[in-house]
């Protein structure tokens, strides 16, 4: 770990980290642009960096992107990222009451505290968890992927059926090409260009960047209200940390824990922490009307969820959310195998991620406090220029992947697919994570079946695999049970 910090404190890694955090904050603060979009678009540029530098840049973007969402959520009631939705509930009313700077200062303080506490969990839990995961075999991995997909589909916003369809669709789209187990061509329909399958990067850029740009173009006439921020008024006071101490600690633990669970993102973490803060508050009636505790709970939890989500990512190679799925893509692009072996084969990456996460949080707090006034002005950049430039980077970045136009066409097609899915209220998270995890799931399932000579029930002979499988089934059945109970209650009310 100390070596990772020593490596990080060199000129280039620190520069990449600072650049990543700054870009993340800017993109996170502009409504309509997201951290996923920025990270997906930056992947082609990381080809030319060392793996450590690339991960440092991307972790910086991730932390900056989630934290930057605070600004638009507070000043415009527009969550810069989905993770800041809960911040709008109290941040915006505070801004309307003339306490915008106070809301921003509390949000920044909450973000850094949440980040630091979740870093402790990340640093302490990751090595032993990776050691444990080293004992996992194919059944454990298969059931863990299954659990991640089912949890993601069940807990993502919208219907369970749509979430499951999205996960299956993502997995199916990862199938065309050469079957890696036996070298058999499948689902190429005689089209040579599909032999290598669909590359991850065009799918990511299309699904997240192009579809988002299409949505932004539709809303091009949306005007943002002008709000000015007095930078000097945005200051963290030690007294606030004491006053909100229990809330900061509780929301950090909630955020880390929720982030740890596969498939649940910062928005759910913020929602849970907000609900808990409200339920234990002496003034619950103030929530939603400009409560400081509301801002603190939401911002602490969404930042803490990043540290939590990085734990399954670096210890088991299981993404907790869309951004982690993209980070897994980045590891694969750099010929690294995400999972517990990362600590053995590439400790500089595994510990580098942990070290980068801590320093990124510190950079984020410094930059946000120093430049929040400037950053808030970036929200008003002319959309025509911004969207045109992003479209151009999408095309160039995708083409640069393999120097072929097939990838660019795939990106455009997935842009339309992503837009259509969102129009039909089908969550994109399970779709992309299904696409990323399908090869791992298939490989492990087939290895497990071979080892057990075709006996699927063999997984019940392995405690971890059986537990993951049972959790998957319960996660799948729980929403159905709740729906059945609600219907029964409704029909009972009608009869009485």
């Amino acid at each position: 770990m100390l070596e990772a910090f020593a490596n990080l404190l060199a000129f280039w890694p620190l520069t990449y980290l600072a650049l990543g955090v700054a870009l993340g904050i800017v993109v996170g603060s502009i409504p309509g642009l997201t951290a996923s979009m920025l990270i997906a678009l930056s992947l082609p540029l990381t080809f030319y960096m060392s793996s450590v530098d690339a991960m440092t840049l991307l972790i910086g973007m991730y932390v900056g992107g989630i934290s930057g969402g605070l600004i638009a959520a507070t000043l415009l009631r527009m969550p810069g990222t989905p993770a800041s939705i809960m911040t709008t509930f109290d941040g915006f009313p505070m801004a309307q009451q003339g306490k915008g700077e106070r809301a921003l200062a509390l949000g920044i303080a909450a973000s850094i505290i949440g980040g630091l506490i979740s870093w402790v969990f990340l640093a302490v839990l990751s090595p032993p968890l990776a050691n444990l995961a080293l004992r996992f075999g194919p059944w454990e991995y298969f059931t863990m992927v299954l659990m991640a997909l089912v949890m993601l589909a069940s807990l993502s916003q919208g219907s369970l059926v749509k979430g499951l369809i999205a996960a299956c669709l993502g997995m199916l789209l990862a199938m065309p090409g050469i079957d890696p187990s036996i070298g058999q061509l499948r689902l190429t329909f005689g089209w040579d260009k599909l032999t290598g399958g669909l590359a991850l990067l065009p799918v990511l850029i299309g699904t997240f960047a192009i579809s988002q740009i299409l949505k932004d173009v539709i809303a091009i006439e949306q005007r943002l209200a002008e709000v000015k921020v007095m930078r000097r008024a945005v200051a963290i006071k030690a007294r606030d940390l004491v006053t909100h101490g229990p809330n900061l600690l509780r929301s950090s633990v909630i955020g880390t824990w929720v982030g740890l669970l596969p498939g649940i993102g910062g928005n759910i973490a913020a929602m849970l922490a907000y609900a808990t803060a409200k339920s234990v508050s002496r003034e619950p009636e103030k929530f939603g009307k400009g409560s400081e505790s509301g801002v603190v709970a939401a911002e602490t939890a969404n930042n803490a969820s990043i540290g939590g989500a990085l734990i399954p990512l670096i210890t088991m190679g299981i993404p907790g959310s869309v951004v982690e799925a993209i980070l897994i893509g980045a590891l694969i692009i750099h010929n690294l195998q995400p999972g517990p072996l990362l600590f053995v084969t590439n400790p500089e990456i595994a510990y580098g991620v942990i070290a980068s996460y801590l320093v990124a949080n510190i950079f984020m707090a410094i930059m946000m406090l120093a430049a929040v006034g400037w950053i808030s002005r970036l929200m008003y950049l002319p959309r025509a220029y911004l969207l045109t430039a992003i479209l151009f980077f999408c095309v160039v970045g995708t083409f640069a992947l393999n120097n072929r136009f097939f990838d660019v066409w795939v990106m455009l097609a997935f842009g339309v697919v992503g837009f259509a899915l969102e129009y039909c209220k089908v969550p994109l998270g399970p779709f992309v994570i299904g696409f990323v995890l399908a090869p791992i799931a298939e490989e492990q399932l087939r290895a497990g079946m071979m080892a057990s000579e075709g006996d699927f029930l063999a997984l019940f002979g392995r405690p971890f695999a059986a537990t993951f499988f049972v959790v998957s089934i319960l996660t799948l059945c729980w929403p159905l049970y709740q729906e059945w109970r609600q219907r029964r209650r409704a029909s009972a009310e009608v009869h009485t």
Binding site: F47, S159, V161, K162, L164, I165, C168, L169, M171, L172, M175, D179, S181, I182, Q184, R186, L187, F189, I213, L214, K215, V217, I218, A219, I220, E221, Q222, R223, P382, R383, A384, Y385, L387, T388, L391, F392, V395, V396, F399, A400, N403, F405, V408, W409, L412, G415, V416, A420, C424, K425, V426, A438, A441, E442, L445, R446, M449, M450, E453, G454
Partner: protein, 158 residues
């Protein structure tokens, strides 16, 4: 007035697309040889996914069909005029731009400048006062990116 809401209609179309895709996958895996050296084979997972998707598609179709007579939820005021046709236009220019380079009708620099100026102009509502600024921005952007990729990253652009 009662009529099919946006959501049930979109769900019906989505479910039909899911069923069609499941059918295509099933048909596409029909010609794959049966497994020889391992229990599952290449077709097992795609077929299983196709079956699961078809079942889920039927559930979605059933629910959407049952809810098609429900009144559409009252439209919430967006505070701005949505421009779906502008998005279609931008996408069309993007497709033409990529096609022009793929078919080698135009090189990277002229194709990019033409397409980006057109897209930018569409997004600014063809505002004549902003057009020269936009053109300048696009030329700078395209030339800078071309130099970055060809001179720094050593990647040939089309």
């Amino acid at each position: 007035m009662e009529g099919p809401g946006r959501e049930p209609l979109a769900d019906i179309l989505f479910a039909v697309a899911v069923l069609a895709l499941a059918g295509i996958v099933w048909w596409g895996t029909a010609s794959l040889p049966p497994p020889r050296y391992e229990p599952l084979g290449s077709a097992a997972l795609p077929r299983t996914l196709a079956v699961v998707m078809a079942l889920l598609g039927l559930v979605l179709l059933g629910r959407a069909w049952a809810g098609r007579r429900q009144a559409a939820p009252a439209a919430v005021g967006l505070g701005f005029r949505p421009r779906p046709w502008l998005a279609v236009g931008v996408l069309a220019v993007l497709v033409l731009y990529v096609a022009a380079m793929d078919l080698r009708l135009l090189g990277f620099v002229p194709a990019s400048i033409l397409a980006l100026v057109l897209i930018g102009a569409m997004l600014t509502g063809f505002d004549r006062r902003r057009l020269p600024w936009l053109a300048g921005f696009v030329v700078l952007l395209v030339v800078a990116v071309q130099l970055l990729f060809t001179r720094v990253f050593y990647i040939d652009l089309p």
